[in-house]
């Protein structure tokens, strides 16, 4: 085998993945472009209800909404070439600016949430798997299912009413200090935590009854080492897959937490833009989100390769 065989294989893999993602991205942009414009007339939403018919027609003319769809798409693609992802009529700013302003907020939320969910799930799942059917396992199983099923808007508002209004321990909402992060992250982490506990528990039960664990026990290795080093390392693989999925879905799904806690993130921005038919922001927002998700997926694949030598040599 050539000494740089691994690097070439990795490089070729990355290029393949990037091209694949690019293809998907182009398809996505086209889909979003045409579907958004088929949802109806933006003039009705931008202009007040009292606007005359002439005012609406004039508005559509000025912003090019009365051109044939294919022509509008052509203009958009031409703009893409110069890095112009469109101008938000509603906010009177370039769409990409608005999106890039909102995105870091959601990213920060996701980056804070996933480690919390993963670490807690690993610990709880591992301990639950240690004695399946035992008291801790039962509590953990029920608790995690409740966590995965509870509606986040209810959780968020109840948390605010309890911890901020009644107890006065935390601020209600907004950003600013570390205390402002506690409730949003806790609420957002609950569903991934709940789902991951189930995954880790299942994988750990499998790992703990495998031959190599029996060997380790026979050799006299400490119990905690067996659980948290040998067994967990093998149970992490399915957990990473699920966690990766959950992480990418947080990017879109944090919208409820963003709305309730008043965090100006991409989720809320996209929902508002869809309701208001702000096509430029819808397109720019989905474009940026899709790019990030593609990158995250590639990163997860690479993480897999790092953790599992069997994948590397495949």
């Amino acid at each position: 085998m050539r000494p740089d065989g691994r690097e070439t294989a990795l490089g070729a893999y990355l290029i393949r993945r990037a091209l694949h993602s690019l293809f998907a991205l182009v398809g996505l942009i086209m889909l979003v472009f045409f579907m958004a414009r088929l949802t109806g007339n933006p003039a009705d939403l931008y202009l007040p209800l009292d606007a005359t018919l002439e005012a609406r027609q004039e508005f559509n003319q000025r912003h090019g909404f009365d051109r044939p769809l294919v022509e509008q798409f052509g203009t958009f693609v031409a703009g893409l070439g110069t890095g112009d992802l469109g101008h938000s009529i509603r906010k009177d700013r370039p769409a990409i600016e608005v999106v890039l302003e909102a995105f870091p907020t959601t990213l920060a939320l996701a980056v804070a949430t996933m480690p919390v969910a993963i670490v807690c799930a690993l610990v709880v799942g591992a301990l639950a798997a240690y004695r399946p059917g035992g008291a801790f396992d039962r509590v953990a199983s029920v608790g995690s299912l409740v966590g995965a099923s509870a509606p986040d808007f209810w959780l968020a508002i109840s948390a605010i009413l309890l911890f901020a209004v009644t107890l006065g321990w935390l601020p209600t909402s907004g950003t600013g200090t570390v205390w402002h992060w506690l409730m949003p992250v806790a609420v957002l982490a609950l569903r991934p935590f709940g789902m991951l506990v189930q995954v880790v528990r299942g994988a750990m039960i499998g790992a703990l009854s495998s031959p190599y664990v029996k060997t380790a026990r026979a050799k006299g290795v400490r119990e905690s080492t067996i659980i948290f080093v040998h067994a967990l390392r093998n149970a992490m693989l399915p957990a990473i897959t699920v966690a990766g999925d959950l992480a990418t879905s947080i990017v879109n799904g944090a919208v409820i937490v963003e709305t309730v806690f008043g965090w100006p993130g991409i989720g809320k921005l996209l929902i508002d833009s869809i309701i208001q038919r702000d096509f430029a922001i819808i397109q720019a927002g989905i474009f940026v989100t899709a790019c990030v998700i593609f990158l995250m997926n590639i990163a997860i694949d690479l993480a897999y390769a790092v953790l599992d030598p069997r994948v590397r040599h495949a």
């Binding site: 949802t39 109806g40 007339n41 009705d44 939403l45 202009l47 007040p48 209800l49 009292d50 606007a51 005359t52 018919l53 002439e54 005012a55 004039e58 508005f59 000025r62 938000s88 509603r90 906010k91 009177d92 608005v98 302003e101 909102a102 907020t105 508002i157 605010i160 009413l161 309890l162 901020a164 209004v165 009644t166 107890l167 006065g168 321990w169 935390l170 601020p171 209600t172 909402s173 907004g174 950003t175 600013g176 200090t177 205390w179 709305t259 309730v260 806690f261 008043g262 100006p264 809320k268 309701i275 208001q276 038919r277």
Partner: protein, 509 residues
Amino acid sequence: MSVQQALRLASLPLALGLTVWLAGPGLAAEPGKITIVLPEELDIVDPCHASRSNIGRVVKQNVTETLTEINPDDASVTPRLATSWERIDDRTWRFQLREGVVFHDGTPMDAEAVATSIQRTLNPNLDCEIRTKFFGNTKVTPKVVDQYTLDLVTDEPSPILPTMMGTVTVQAPSTPMDELTREPIGTGPYVFTSWTPGQDVVLTRFDDYWGETPEVEEVTFIWRAESAVRAAMVATGEADIAPSIAPQDATDPEMDFSYFDSETTQFRIDMDFPPLDDIRVRKAINLAIDREAFRGTILSKDVVPAAQFVVPGVNGHNPNLKPYPYDPEQAKALLEEARADGVPVDTEIEIIGRHANYAGVTEALEAVLAMLQDVGLNVTLRMTEVGEWNDIYTKPYAEDRGPNLFHAMHDNNNGDAVFTVFNKYHTDGAQSVISYPELDEIIEKATVAVNPERQELWQEAFRMIHEDIVSDVMMFHMIGFTRVSPRINFTPTISTNSEIQVSTVTFKD
């Protein structure tokens, strides 16, 4: 003792300690400064869009002022930047401007500056909402007479131009003519200090303001979409005013106030489609609804059953009209009569509503559905989102739409019925489904008339709509709720949905 009370007692010592420790910027209220929490963030801040409520609430009469101001109680026109006005001829009004007023950038306010500002607001390239909403059909040309005298010339006779000038915000001449500004400069008691999109807007008191110095030195506007959170913020002291919260969150009589928010709800009857083209059916629908049943249940007990689309206090409101009584027997009788005459009474009628139009709207429409079914009508309910709802509300209408009752809410706090009647009832109105030449004539006459004739004509129009034409099912004049912190005084009015005059806020000692 309730669970909440028990928790409160048990945690008091702990909470006290933690709260004192945790209190940082934003948790403790500073003297002279207040925070106002609004539901919807503004996307743009240019005062030429101040008729849009999420912008008006921040800038109107705070940063920029208008020539005249409409008294919310009786629609009378009072001086603001103009001290007096008179009608020179049919198409000309002469305004005397207040002397000694300066803009925040130091330029003096005079007729030249006001003329420039009006031209900017009416500039078609800017798409100002004030122009689209109020001046779509009226062309206004400002003419400077002398330093403090300005003539406004209209192409059509405009008897209520002073009322309409209550909507036009005056900005400094330095404001760019062809693009929207992100730092509005006006004459108002507060300077636009900063705007962090997504976070807040801060206004600071203007030391050279022409009027009385307000008590509030600095106001921060923030946004939370969820009503429970807005109410919670005032309860914890993170905010001082939440101008609109949902009825279910207005649970504290010490802090919460209800007020007429100038909104009225109704169903627009689409009379083009049988059986809705028969007046007996339309009257039956009105009689089948028990409006009293909604008060104190799904809706606040303070909502008022309506008989017309404008609230009391708006010029043209007819105090003699009574809402339809609840008389299901009479409704059934009318339907039987119509059926006997061959009217297809059993055709399916669709109620169309909009999600989250107001708190409790879905439940209210479900109740209406049941009430109409009780008198034998064949009705279904469809809730739509705002884009689709707008589409259905406004011309052009779909040809194949079928008989429908369209649920809408409309506000008019601009002092005169013209802002309601034309669009909703005139043949050429953007949301009108009727065409009655008699009514059109009254509307056209009223538009160019002066009080008292103007008021009488509007009142006659509303009477005709309510009793002769029956093109509506009027429901309620609606109530809004405000939560105000115990450390300040603030009274909401019917204009509170459109403007929040921070200069009226005072601190309790």
